[in-house]
């Protein structure tokens, strides 16, 4: 049986690069898994199948992503990403024929085995009860190790709930405790080991535990030896196995898995109850009670609205990341302006062009969004307008969600870039500049958004966008934002201006919105030129 440790192929890369690449690959795999789960869910007919298929498929792919992460990032994030059965296996002292079995198991929890084992799961889980699952477990998982695989899959499926629940399905009741159990399960073995064995405190990657100290040793090592070290079957690296503790951990795992299963079972009953609750519709009492119109404070419901608005923005990124004519014009002008300063080395020039264009693109699509945050089309704009009599509430909600969205995108991007170029020293000041610039852009955008009505260009359809005006907006907002951020950095007390400026912009924006909304709506509906 050939066993390969993929991390070895990655040894020439620096840790930050390895981290960044493995993170990107994992993100890609998770995203792909989610898409696959959704596709499977859509192809299935019933509600039960829909929910379970999406969860299990996405969780399996999350697990695959975690496996990939453990391959590609030696020494980093191992605790969270190591295949859980391997983690458990390491705590048993096994020799002789059992070692062959353990190697087989280690291979089984690897990708091909995982796929083979998990493939039937969605179809079994769809069948409304856990009976078939138990039968499946009995047939396939007679051996204790395979039961462990099933347990770990069940636990991993719980964390898989997080993604679908955030993206599509709301099931907070079981997601939170299930995720907590999962993290406890993963964190518990190394935490116990760290507490009882100070020599292995922290449980870094097995390769860093003295067995191997450099890549030369790694290259010369046979796959079997490598596997033995990874599984902690070799005592030269300092064994931590104690059968008593291992048994206790196994028992803990099983209990946690049972509790997680219980949560899953309860939620499934809830799903079935939804299906059977049809034809019981009654008149909502709050509709028939007098004075049930809400007269809550301004802030009431803002957090909930921001949460949904943020989801909306995250799920419809294609609507605003597409570069439109004015934005593209700004980038072209910028590149033309800088062109004389480029060198003659084609490769370097290409690289510089790519870097500049991608940075400018990131900046410009954010400016586009800042300068018109409601203008997708008339129907949606009308819907938003019709939602509240307080335009300021609408603006505040969109401001907060937009800030969170851009911070969510920009901060990790900036941080990872700084790590990749090995300039960690710029992370802190860069993040401050970014946050200040976003605050300022948000304030400017509140006014720009309601000054000149235009509809955002929809895909495949050209609509009226005033290019000159918008280009000027983007340039002014970008330059002013960066300049102001630098100014505040040099004069920290000036940061007090920001909230005042934002408040003024909200008030002014809401006044403009109230005044111009009919004209905006007319333009977006196409009634007014």
């Amino acid at each position: 049986m050939e066993l390969r440790y993929a991390g070895a192929s990655n040894r020439h890369r620096s840790n930050p690069m390895s981290f960044a690449s493995s993170l990107a690959i994992t993100a890609f795999l998770c995203f792909t898994g989610f898409q696959m789960g959704m596709s499977l869910a859509q192809s299935a007919g019933s509600v039960t199948a829909n929910v379970w298929l999406s969860e299990v498929s996405s969780s399996v792919m999350l697990y695959v992503g975690a496996l990939a992460l453990s391959w590609w990032s030696p020494g980093l994030m191992r605790i969270a990403s190591e295949p859980v059965p391997s983690s458990a296996l390491r705590h048993f002292s096994i020799s002789g024929p059992l070692r062959q079995i353990s190697e087989t198991v280690a291979w089984l929890v690897d990708l091909p085995g995982l796929v083979a084992l998990s493939f039937p799961l969605p179809f079994i889980l769809v069948s409304t009860s856990f009976g078939p699952l138990c039968m499946f477990s009995a047939v396939v998982g007679a051996a204790a190790f395979l039961v462990l695989v099933m347990v770990s899959l069940s636990l991993i499926s719980m964390i898989g709930n997080i993604l679908p629940s955030f993206m599509r399905i709301r099931k907070e009741a079981r997601t939170v405790p299930a995720a907590m159990f999962l993290f406890l399960s993963i964190g518990m073995p190394p935490a116990c080991a760290a507490l009882t064995h100070p020599s292995i405190a922290g449980l870094s990657h097995p390769l860093s535990r003295g067995a191997i100290s450099n890549s030369t040793q790694l290259e010369s090592m046979s796959p079997d030896r490598l596997l033995a070290i990874i599984l902690r079957l070799d005592t030269t690296g300092g064994s931590v196995s104690e059968s008593g503790r291992a048994s206790a951990e196994l028992a803990t795992w099983t209990i946690l898995a049972c509790i997680a299963m219980l949560f899953a079972s309860r939620s499934q009953k809830e799903i079935q109850a939804i299906g059977s609750s049809r034809n019981r519709a009654t008149m909502p009492s709050w509709l028939t009670l007098p004075d049930s119109i809400n007269k809550g404070p301004f802030s009431s419901g803002v957090i909930g609205a921001v949460s949904t608005d943020l989801k909306l923005l995250l799920r419809e990124t294609v609507r605003f990341t597409q570069l439109r004519q004015p934005g593209a014009a700004v980038i072209l002008v910028m590149l033309a302006f800088l062109a004389p300063d480029f060198g003659k080395n084609t490769i370097y020039v290409s690289r510089e062009l790519l870097c500049l264009a991608s940075s400018a693109y990131t900046l410009i699509w954010q400016m586009q969004l800042m300068c018109n945050r409601f203008g997708v089309d008339g129907d949606r704009f009308g819907l938003l307008l019709g939602l509240t009599g307080k335009p300021a509430r609408l603006i505040v909600v969109r401001n907060i969600s937009l800030m969170l969205l851009l911070l969510l995108i920009d901060l990790p991007a900036f941080g990872l870039t700084a790590v990749a170029i090995e300039r960690k020293d710029i992370i802190a000041p860069g993040c401050i500049v970014l946050a200040i610039a976003l605050c300022l852009w948000t304030s400017i955008g509140n006014i720009f958004s309601f000054t000149t009505p235009f509809a955002i260009q929809r895909i495949g359809r050209l609509t009226a966008e005033p290019p000159g005006y918008l280009s000027a907006c983007y340039v002014v907002a970008a330059v002013a934002g960066i300049w102001f951020a630098m100014f505040i950095l040099s004069t920290p007390t000036a940061i007090a201006i920001l909230p005042v400026m934002w408040l003024i912009s909200v008030l002014l924006g809401s006044r403009l919105m109230a005044t111009n909304q009919q004209r905006f709506f007319g333009v977006m509906k196409g009634d007014v030129a």
Partner: protein, 264 residues
């Protein structure tokens, strides 16, 4: 705000609007009392949706005045938004979120707190039989389901006035029956005013206390229009006949059937 003293929920005077050269609304006068269900009828392109848009404050008319619960909707269109519920003809929803999330969002935007918004969402989803798919993205819904979501969004803040533009398009018959009962109950018990447009006269008969028919930009009641178009007085069913005459459908049908006769 004078909503406490006025009895008319909607008051429109000399409302005129034109798109380009085309006169859509020509000096419309209308007064709808609180608790009244008013049906606005008319053939396609008669200006029903334009009238609803103007009353709801999304369209600034060329001239005339609109008062909704005592608020001037021409000058201050946003002020009454929390007291009206709107269903537009073009169902514009946030299709990337589920019905559940969308309705909670609408509730939050109207100022409902988390638990209240969730409770109302659940009861509306139950009422409109949308529970089974309430956690799926709206993009996958049929037109009828989208319209139900739109209706639920219009109801979630328990408005005083409902402005419904073709609300029953694509909705199945049992749900329409339930909605009609709901609207009638709301009108009679809570004195909610309902203004709705429709092509289907059956719904109008079932639901409305009063109807108006838009024709050539002007608003008529049934008897007036019968005289205007020369229909025999007292003919039953009057509304269908009137709409048929207004849309000119009958002669066209005769023409098309005559083509087949010629061919055979």
């Amino acid at each position: 705000m004078t909503s406490a003293v006025t009895t008319s929920a909607v008051k429109v005077a000399k409302l005129t609007h034109q798109f380009g050269e085309r006169l859509i609304l020509d000096g419309i006068d209308l007064e709808i009392q609180r608790g009244e269900v008013y049906g606005l009828l008319g053939p396609n392109g008669a200006g029903k949706s334009t009238a609803i848009r103007a009353i709801s404050g999304f369209l600034r008319p060329d001239s005339g005045s609109i008062s909704l619960l005592g608020n001037d909707m021409v000058r201050y269109p946003a002020r009454s938004r929390d007291t009206i519920g709107i269903v537009s003809e073009d169902v514009g929803l946030f299709e990337a979120v589920s019905a559940n999330e969308f309705l909670c969002f609408v509730g939050h935007m109207h100022g409902l707190n988390g638990s209240e918004a969730r409770n109302r969402t659940n009861s509306l989803l139950e009422l409109l039989e949308l529970e089974a798919s309430s956690r799926e993205p709206i993009a996958g819904y049929s037109l009828g389901m989208k319209r139900k979501v739109s209706l639920a969004a219009a109801l979630i803040h328990a408005p005083h006035v409902l402005l419904l533009d073709e609300p029953f398009n694509g909705i199945d018959a049992p749900t329409i029956r339930r909605l009609c009962e709901l609207l009638q109950q709301l009108a009679s018990e809570r004195r909610i005013t309902v203004v709705f447009t429709s092509h289907v006269t059956d719904y109008v008969r079932r639901l409305c206390n009063r109807t108006g028919i838009l024709h050539n930009g002007r608003l008529y009641d049934e008897q007036e229009l019968m005289l205007e178009v020369g229909a025999p007085h007292g003919t039953e069913p009057g509304l269908e006949l009137l709409l048929e005459r207004l849309s000119g459908a009958a002669p066209k049908i005769t023409t098309i059937t005559s083509w087949y006769q010629q061919r055979s």
